[in-house]
């Protein structure tokens, strides 16, 4: 039995809970219930050579890094950084959260998700900016918890990164 603790990080209301729900239960809901504290879910991912159980810690979204409970990330082997593509500020928030976590626990694999890709008309992140981040060798996905687009791909990618 191989398990890995994964933390969902990102600003307020970017869709962390929705992504986990989409990935684990294949459902989506419009209604927004903010996460208080932490919600834990589990999903087994079958990789070519093994199966890894992802224990997904869905943390409350924080726009303010000051109040972030870094202790929840202790022991995690991977991060899912979530950005809301319709709110530019959430990109900065996600990057800051990652820095904070790295400062505390050292570098760890992560995927960067630009979520809500279905809301094309309200999209504010320029492609050039995403390309720049890709140049750094980062794993980046444009996801939608609503349609499910690229959600599985992103989690599978992370699963294969942490299972090494």
């Amino acid at each position: 039995m191989l398990q890995k603790k994964i933390c969902m990080l990102g600003g307020f209301s970017v869709g962390k809970t929705s992504l986990v729900r989409r990935f684990v239960q294949s459902i989506f809901s419009e209604t927004y219930l903010t996460t208080v504290g932490v919600k834990i879910d589990k999903k087994s991912v079958a990789l070519p050579d093994k199966t890894v159980d992802l224990i997904l810690w869905d943390l409350a979204g924080e726009d303010d890094i000051g109040s972030f409970r870094v202790s929840h990330v202790r022991g995690a082997t991977g991060l899912v950084l979530v950005v809301d593509g319709t709110r530019a500020a959430t990109l900065a928030a996600a990057l800051t959260l990652r820095e904070r976590v790295e400062a505390e626990f050292g570098a760890m694999p992560f995927v960067l998700l630009f979520n809500k890709s279905d809301l094309a008309d309200r999209w504010v992140i320029p492609d050039s900016e995403i390309d720049e981040l890709r140049q750094l060798g980062w794993q980046i996905y444009l996801t939608s918890a609503l349609t499910g687009e690229h959600v599985d791909d992103a989690f599978r990618q992370l699963a294969s990164m942490v299972a090494k």
């Binding site: 903010t34 932490v38 159980d53 810690w57 000051g66 202790r74 022991g75």
Partner: protein
Amino acid sequence: METLRQLLVSREISELSRVTHLLDEPEQLAAAVGGVLPSAAARAPHAQLGEALAPAVERAVQRSIQKSPRTLTDILYPVFLPAIRKSIGERIDQTFQSLNETLRHIFTWHGLKWRFESWRTGASFSEVVLKHSLVYRIEHAFLINRNSGLLIAHVTADNATSEDPQLISSMLSAIQDFVKDSFNEKEQSSLDTIRFGDLRLWSEVGPFATLVSVIRGNPPEELHEIIRDVLLRIHEESSEALEQFEGDSSQLAGVEAQLQTCVELKQEESNQGFPWLVVTAALLLSILAGGWFFLSWQSAQRWQAYVSRWQAYVSRLEAHPGIIVAEQQVRDGQFYIAGLRDPLAADPQSLLSGTQVDPAQVHSQWQFYQSLEPEFVLKRLTASLAPPDSVRLSIDNDRIVAEGEAPDTWIDRARAAAQQLSVGGPVFDISRVRDVSPEVLEAERWQAYVSRLGTQPGIIVAEQKIHDGQFYIAGLRDPLGADPQSLLSGTQVDPARVHSQWQFYQSLEPEFVLKRLTASLYPPDTVRLSIVNDRIVAEGEAPDTWIDRARAAARQLSAGGPEFDISKVRDVSPEARAAEHWQYYVSRLEAQSGIIVAQQTARGGHFYISGLRDPLAADPQALLSGTEVDPARVHSQWQFYQSLDPKFVVKRLTASLTPPKSVQLSIIQGRIVVVGEAPAAWINRAQAAAEQLSADGVVLDVSQLRELNLAELNHLREAIQTTDIFFSSGKVVPGPEQTPVLDRLADQIKEFAQSARKSGVTARFMLTGHSDTTGRETANASISAARAETVRALLNKRGVAPELLLVRGAGTFEPAVPENSQTGSSTNRRVSVTVNLD
């Protein structure tokens, strides 16, 4: 009794009201909630508004947490208050429930015993209950990585089930985090006990792993030590693997054996598996509330364990059914006890042995009474009723139940006893004793037969009775149903004593109706009749004629009988019907004049047609409308031809001959008859056409055509044609003396032209110019033409349509008089007029 009750439960009642008051303390609640959600609280009744505000309120709470983490606990408290209050509310409800339960069973033996003890020792009733039920079992052991909260190993006791140990493991560590953060606990200390109802989660924290035990029941404190030992041993054995644990538990397989020793720990076998699934659900829902329970539980941990030998004896007595200890006392080294005992109960004195209480120091006072506890009542009943061997008495849920067979005399006695008992005592249920008197047996058999008949379809029992050992039955039966006589076999009813009277009737029960329908409707092989929910359902395929018959039958049935549903029978006739529609269309085409159908077939649902059509005939395509033939499936091939049908011939003649208005073409008995008046030229053309047509066998009768009668016009024509316009020598414009002539001529021409047009004839007027012979011939020719042109212009000026006027120059060639005569030259210089009709 009232005082006794006061004595026993007043403490609980006051305690409860205190707790309820504390929880509902309005100021505290209002202050806490009001501080965070003032406006929301003000508008609480508007559910929708509350929902709309929820995210903003949540946001506000988060902000305030961010500002001052030190008061986190204080701020969290009101946020969680509703949830916690709800949980507490439920707990209180439960307590009430169990208390009510207890009050109701105040005289059950455990209840009484424990209440006396509580009263005697000063411990609360619940403490006494707890003490007496000190049984526990470790149902689950989780070994959890301290760092990541990932599950290292999990072991379960037999019969215990669990949701998802991996998830639970992570959640437990999240709770630990929460408590640590919320209550400013130091890093090393951690949440070590959580309690959910009967279930406790104990956690022991080691350097690398935490061992969480899920314990059902009431474990002794010493159990902590034992669990700690297990954790220590696990760390000793596998400290390296534990330290390096990264989610792969395969290296730590040996740990399970250690955990297993933990799970085997228990005191006294528990009856059944705890509803662990339910508890897990509660765990998931109230992760955070769990933190609170932790606090409240600690305060509930105070209990004492002192029990003296005497008290052991007293409790032993109290535990005995049929003994009620009313009072007991220790005074001056002597033991005093008083109470009630049932003569059938154990002897209190003899129970002293083995208690190490000196009998000499015991002073008892016992009064006999009849215990109403079921087991005593059972004993007394057994003694007094002497039930036969075929009857068994037993206790079932505090009721005494008699089962088996007995003659009616015994049953009567038992019934009397049951009636006597009813006041205050347990219920004595004799309904399960079967009366086995011989007549009763026979009657039972007869009833079995009757009810057997009753369940038979097609048999209606109208009346039945037993009289003088004879059985009488009357009713109706369907001839298609079973024979009542033959049903007697195997019932042990003597046929010789059965007197039946059956009348035949037609049962409306579905199966009979089905049989009759099958016989009358002769359904084709492709139709299946069956009974579905008391309805007769026909399925399959049939021609519409059969469906019509079935429909008629269904309609007839409707009154009172079962429904006959033929909606599932497919009409196989559509193709046939489509073919009919097609044939109708074809015949419609054939009836059309100017259309000749040469060939037509229907093949594979498509229709093919070919033939001839006159361009003047109706459009075959347009004729499709209203025939219900699908145009998309019609494939036509039409060749144009000229129809010799008189109607078409008339049309064509009208188009080509353009008969004058005075002429009428009509068809009389297949012949085309032309009547009326026409100019000779037109009559000639009509005659030519008639000849041509006669070769094709069409008769065009022009014999009744009369030449147009222009008699009236002849006079006018004469006048026009005798008019000449004269010119001076060498002139092409007539002199002024000619003006009245021109005026008159113009009027005459106009009148003539109009009259001719009325007769359907066009009149044209030829103006011919002439010259005298003076001068060169060529000059004369041009002068003559010029004179004609001039006259045309002058007539035109006078209102004559120019297209009616033709001009020509005749030069000297058509002299009116010989040139050498006296007036020759001047008479010949003129323009003459001739009238043409066409």
